[in-house]
Each structure stands twice: as C-alpha cells, then as structure tokens.
C-alpha cells in the first residue's frame, strides 16, 4: 500500500511536472509566435538598376590614373537621373567603391526625380558631381555653372551657381532669378495646393534671397 501511494505520488509529480513543462513550452511558443508575428518582415531591397554611360566616342581610359573621359554625345542613364553632355570625366572607383567625382561639360542637360517624386530639369555649361564619405557620414553634391537653369513644376530658376545637396536635398542658388509658373486661376501647377506667390519655391529652402533679386514678371501660363 505504501508502495502504491508512493507510485501514485510519483506519477502525480511527474504528471504535474510534465504539464508545467508543456505549459512553459506553450508559453515560449506563444511568445515566439507573438514576436514572429509582430516583427516587421524585412523588406527585400530591390536590386538597383545599373548606371549606363554611352558615348559616340572616343573614350579615353587612363588606367594608371584611374580616370575615364567620354567624348561626343555622352548619355548617362542612372536610376536617379539622366544626363547628357558633350564631354564627361569620371574618376574610376577602387574595387567595391563608387564613383566619387564626375565632371560633365558642354550642353549639360540633367533630368532627375527627387525623393518626393518631383521631377526637375536642369541645364548648364558644366556640372560637377562630388561624393564623399567620412566617419560614416556621406556628402553628395551636384554643382551647375555656366548659365545654369533649373526647371520644375513650380517654375524656373536661374543664377550664377546652382548647388544641389543630394544628402540634405537642399538647393542653393547664388544670385537667383526666378519665374514662377502659374495657371490661369492663380494657383501653382502640379498637385500641391495653391500657394501665395510670395512663398518661395519649396526646393530653395536654403537660399538667401537678396532683396529685389527675385523676379516675378514673366508668368508662364499652362
């Protein structure tokens, strides 16, 4: 009888332990399930389309100096912009690196889309692209000179130098002159709500306008 009681007791303890273990397992499973369910699924980054450069030629590759110069009807097709010019100089990157210096000259035309999907059309005699990375921080600028013009949905901007900081997405125009684009109802074109004419272009956040330099005489009717 004593042995039977001991056996029953053991079975009971074993059963309780087994149940507890099962409960714990279930709890862990539940937590894991929750974690798994709530964790945002990592978004697979789509492969970046390659950059294509085409030229009628010739193209000179200075392999010792790691520099290439394309001549005659140069076209650059990049996921972020399209560029054409007559002469393009680029520094060849080290393995695994990226091109950090590009100079486009003569009849430079650039079409690009910013982060907000706004398209811009820029022209000039010379464009200098510089990319640098230091201490984990990157800086990427596009500088247009030689009668540079920038055209977007809000209007047309000209100046002596147009600098587009692609890192901060700010545009700086020295000695700016602007022509706002307006439709017949007085509203700016595009999908943005109407804004007063005195509102500076959204893209020229960092521009300090000298008094009297902003021109608003010629209105382009859509």
């Amino acid at each position: 009888m004593k042995n039977v009681c001991l056996l029953i007791g053991l079975i009971a303890v074993a059963g309780a332990w087994s149940l507890r273990a099962q409960t714990n397992t279930n709890a862990v499973d539940e937590i894991l399930a929750l974690v798994t369910t709530n964790a945002p699924a990592p978004k697979p980054q789509p492969p970046r389309q390659p950059t294509r450069i085409e030229a009628d030629g010739p193209a000179d590759f200075d392999l010792a100096g790691r520099r290439v110069i394309y001549h005659s009807h140069v076209r650059v097709d990049d996921p972020e912009m399209k560029l054409s010019c007559e002469r393009l100089t680029a520094d060849l990157p080290q393995e695994g690196g990226r091109i950090n210096n590009i100079v486009a000259e003569t009849n430079v035309v650039i079409d690009f889309t910013d982060d907000k999907g706004q398209t811009m059309h820029a022209t000039g005699d010379k464009m200098v692209y510089v990319y640098s990375a230091q201490n984990g921080a990157t800086n990427e600028t596009v500088t247009l000179t030689g009668q540079p013009e920038l055209d977007n949905a809000q209007g047309k901007s000209t100046g002596d130098v147009i600098v587009w900081n692609r890192t901060s997405n700010h545009l700086t125009i020295s000695n700016p002159k602007m022509v706002f684009r307006q439709n017949l109802n007085g509203a700016t074109t595009g999908t943005n709500p109407p804004t007063p004419m005195t509102t500076p272009l959204p893209v020229v956040k960092t521009t300090n306008y000298p008094p009297g330099t902003v021109e608003n005489i010629d209105t382009i009717k859509q």
């Binding site: 970046r48 450069i53 085409e54 010739p58 193209a59 200075d62 010792a64 921080a137």
Partner: protein, 161 residues
C-alpha cells in the same frame, strides 16, 4: 571606322602591363606557355600563355592570355585573333577580363590596336565597357576606345543614413 584622338603619353609602367610579355611569350621569346602549337614561321595557334607574379609570389598567376591564332608581321607587328586576357590579384581573384576578336600588337612601340570590337570587364562583372576600335598604349596604361562606347556600372544599394 574611325580611329581618332590617339593619346600622346609619357612612358610609365601601367596596370595592364601584362600585354607585352604574354604576347612575346607567344613568339617564343619568354615562354611560360601551357598549350601552344608553333610552326617554324613563328605562327602560333590555339595558345595559352601564363604570366606569374614576381617572387615571393611566383606561384601566383598574374595574367592568362589566350587566342586562336598569333602570327608575326613585318615591322615587329603581331596579329592576334580571338584574344582573351584575364588578370588576377595575389589571391587568385579575377580582376580584369579583356576580349577582342582581333588585334595588332606593335612589339616595338608597345601599342595594340584594332578596328574591331573590344570588351573589358572587371572580374565581378560590375564594371563593363565595350566599343568598336581601340588603341592601347602599354607605356602609360592608356586605352582609347574609338566608337560607340558603352559602359555599365552596377552599384550595390546603400543604406541611407
């Protein structure tokens, strides 16, 4: 076919200095050939030539040149057909691969030219250039592609800060 803007260079030892030695090797001047058939006129066919690094890395292959035909011409010229050239780093990793159906190499001046197609790509395939007609000056590692130059650069996506 136009060949223009031939660059005037200053003598320098270049990255692609591999062209001369393998081609000379084809003619039997300094041979480390793995497979070649050469007749008495100096004509070689279906050849492969390997160049090794300097000591202490003499076991490592620096470049491998192959072609279906190589024949000497007057004036120190060498005509190579179906040229394929591949360079390797010290770890044996492929660096640059060059393909040209035909080219003429001037052994006296260290200049390779062709009116035909040229394809150059890095070992990882992320940088590819092709065009028609080329001039290669070995002295200063200067390559001119004459016409219809097409470059493809594949950049890995970056994490935005």
């Amino acid at each position: 076919m136009k060949m223009k803007n031939k660059p005037a260079g200053t003598p320098q030892r270049g990255v692609l200095a591999f062209l001369v030695l393998p081609m000379l090797a084809v003619l039997g001047f300094a041979i480390v050939a793995t497979r070649a058939q050469q007749n008495t006129s100096g004509h070689a066919s279906d050849f492969t030539s390997v160049e090794y690094y300097e000591p202490p890395n003499q076991q490592q292959v620096k470049s491998r040149l192959s072609g279906t035909e190589a024949s000497p011409e007057p004036g120190g010229l060498l005509v190579v057909k179906q040229l394929k050239l591949e360079t390797f780093d010290l770890n044996g990793k492929s660096e640059i691969i060059v393909d040209a159906p035909e080219c003429v190499y001037d052994t006296l001046n260290g200049v390779a030219t062709s009116p035909g197609q040229l394809q150059v790509r890095t070992g990882d395939g992320k940088f590819r250039v092709e065009g028609e007609g080329f001039l290669w000056r070995q002295t200063n590692s200067f390559l001119t592609i004459s016409n219809h130059v097409r470059t493809v650069i594949e950049i890995s996506p970056e994490k935005k800060a």
